[in-house]
């Protein structure tokens, strides 16, 4: 990559958003990531129409058939079509990724803003809470929470959301403290704006870009976490398909039906890779300071 284009000359009427878009589009891998994500989202949304078979319909005459014209990805131990289950499974994975990260943002950002803007003992309490949660590795916290909440996809999503939220608290807190020290917030405060208005109107919009980048990367982690929890039987419950639970079943038939393990795992890998590529590109586009790192 050439460095000479690092500072694009802004044409008249060139908004920051448009400049960011241009920087993003120059990042070919990030665009590729976005395309892959779009394909997966389309597959998940259109699953009822494009899946060739019913994802839960069993067929005793078609147990563990290798990939063929009829079943592109083969069939599983109950004669269900693996392709159809991968397509329907995308729903569980993408929904878990998007919803749990949205929930983590909704939990984390307000607390982070509160801590960063008020300071004092409120900040101390929120920060120690965050430290406490971050001292348990993400996946172990999610497993423990999901175990105590009981096995269900909704509970797994809640567990992931709670486990992912401290990162957003920390990020929002740091950015809020930075913003608090700037002149525009100082000016807004001296004009007599109430604290909530300063938080929402003056601070939040400025911290959206880094939050967006972090959220994209968190979706990648959340998708792996959902797959892990479902793999352990703590997420999506049978017979409903999820990539993690499909891998769990596949492990028992590795010698006879390796295709059962290959395709759901490949789906997780591709979608997580796509979110990571997309997030990296987004960081370059939205946060010029982090460029070239």
């Amino acid at each position: 990559m050439s460095v000479t284009t690092a500072i694009p000359t802004a044409a008249k009427g060139d908004s920051p958003a448009r400049r960011a878009l241009r920087r993003f589009l120059r990042h070919r891998l990030a665009v590729l990531g976005l395309i892959v994500i779009t394909i997966f989202v389309a597959g998940a949304v259109l699953a009822p129409w494009i899946a060739p078979y019913d994802p839960v319909a069993t067929s005793w005459s078609r147990i563990r058939k290798p990939p063929s014209e009829l079943h592109w990805f083969g069939t599983d131990e109950n004669g269900r079509d693996v392709l159809s289950r991968v397509l329907w499974g995308a729903r569980a994975s993408l929904m878990a990724g998007a919803l749990s990260v949205t929930a983590a943002l909704l939990i984390g950002v307000p607390f982070g803003l509160l801590a960063g803007l008020t300071g004092g003992w409120v900040d101390t309490i929120i920060s120690r809470f965050t430290d406490a949660m971050l001292s348990v590795p993400f996946l172990i916290l999610a497993i423990a929470l999901a175990a105590f909440l009981g096995p269900a996809l909704e509970n797994a999503m809640l567990a992931i959301a709670i486990s992912a939220s401290p990162i957003f608290v920390r990020l929002a807190r740091g950015m809020a403290m930075e913003a608090k020290a700037t002149e525009w917030v100082e000016a807004a405060r001296s004009l007599g704006n109430p604290p909530w208005r300063i938080a929402l109107v003056h601070v939040l919009p400025n911290i959206v870009p880094p939050l967006l980048v972090q959220a994209t990367l968190a979706i990648a982690e959340a998708i792996i976490a959902e797959a892990s929890l479902s793999f352990l039987g703590l997420g999506q419950q049978p017979p409903n398909p999820s990539w993690g639970s499909m891998l769990n079943a596949a492990q028992r038939f590795l010698t006879q039906a390796p295709w059962m393990a290959i395709y759901p795992g490949l789906a997780i890998f591709l979608v997580v890779l796509a979110f990571n590529l997309f997030g990296d590109g987004l960081r370059d586009a939205l946060d010029p300071r982090a460029r070239g790192r």
Binding site: V136, L139, I143, A261
Partner: protein, 329 residues
């Protein structure tokens, strides 16, 4: 992080002050953590006494005895105080299923995971750090792109899937390695290595990508410094400039990161041990989850958090120890 203020000074009192402040943060953090872990119990659906009674759940007298033993008939704060008191004395409770103290269960399983984690850590360092150095030295050239692509793939691969794929290739197809099981080092070191090399590799590759990215970033930062330019101007060979001048400085942040990643290996071990049927710490929590053996789940979380907090403290101390700018004058 708190080191930035003390960095410029390099005097002893600042270092000690920082250390005291750091410890002052850890204690409330651990207290809050204990409340959170205790609170997990309250999320539990159903009556713990019924779960614990098992087949005798119909007998009201048994239920009453269990409730009294678990202090379920006491106010919640009293339950917490008693739980914390026992915890501070190293008592992690009693497994509901295996009928053994949780502490001894964990102590029994931990060495297995330490062996696995240690091997994975070595693999991650052996791959990640050289790859990061090469990547930074050949920045924006094919070697860099290749290293970045491999690192990204490593980070994006769910390690349980990689484990399944490796079993498929090396055990099912090629028949080189046992697909699962574990032999202790003390019993037969060859067999022990054969049973742990695949899981260690699976566990290590995920972090290798993280190491590679951080080493690369730190090396790129170091290579742009004045002292590197001076070293080059003196006519030193590039090998010496990179190996002796840039690398020493670049590795400082990587060491801190390494200790944190070492803690994260514990989380990775959960699924990896499950895939390869290795009877370690990770499999312990999974089995406990399946058996609804809640004290074990809690105990594992407590121990993980303690290890994690200790490691990050060691990371900070190492950072101070190896960073000449922070060393006492």
């Amino acid at each position: 992080m708190g080191w930035s203020a003390s960095r410029a000074c390099g005097c002893n009192s600042v270092m000690w002050g920082w250390l005291l402040r750091r410890l002052g943060q850890i204690i409330p953090t651990l207290l809050i953590l204990s409340v959170l872990i205790f609170a997990l119990q309250q999320l539990m659906p159903g009556d713990p006494a019924i779960i614990m009674a098992g087949e005798e759940r119909g007998d009201p007298q048994v239920l009453a005895e269990i409730r009294a033993e678990l202090m379920l008939d006491r106010p919640i704060w009293e339950q917490y105080a008693a739980w914390l008191w026992r915890l501070l004395h190293g008592d992690l409770g009693f497994s509901w299923r295996i009928r053994q103290p949780v502490g001894s269960l964990i102590l029994e399983k931990l060495p297995v995971t330490l062996q696995l984690g240690g091997m994975a850590f070595l693999i991650a360092i052996a791959i990640g750090i050289p790859a990061g150095i090469v990547s930074a030295a050949f920045r924006d050239r094919p070697a860099d792109w290749a290293a970045n692509a491999v690192a990204l793939a490593g980070i994006s691969t769910p390690n349980f899937w990689l484990g399944i794929m490796m079993i498929l290739l090396f055990s099912v197809e090629l028949g080189w390695l046992p697909p699962s099981g574990y032999v202790p080092l003390s019993q037969d070191w060859r067999q022990s290595l054969a049973t742990t090399i695949m899981p260690a590799f699976v566990l290590g590759t995920g972090i290798a990508g993280v190491f590679m990215r951080h080493t690369r970033a730190a090396m790129i930062g170091a290579l742009s410094q004045d002292y590197v330019r001076t070293a080059r101007a003196k006519g030193l060979p590039e090998r010496v400039v990179i190996g002796r001048h840039a690398l020493r400085n670049a590795l400082v942040p990587v060491v801190t990161l390494a200790t944190i990643e070492l803690g994260r290996l514990l989380a990775g071990a959960v699924l990896t041990e499950q895939i390869f049927s290795i009877p370690g710490f990770g499999k312990l929590i999974v089995d406990a989850v399946f058996n609804r053996d809640y004290p074990v789940v809690q105990g594992v979380v407590v121990v993980t958090a303690l290890i994690f907090v200790t490691l990050s403290l060691i990371g900070d101390l190492l950072y101070m120890a190896i960073n000449p700018r922070l060393r006492a004058a």
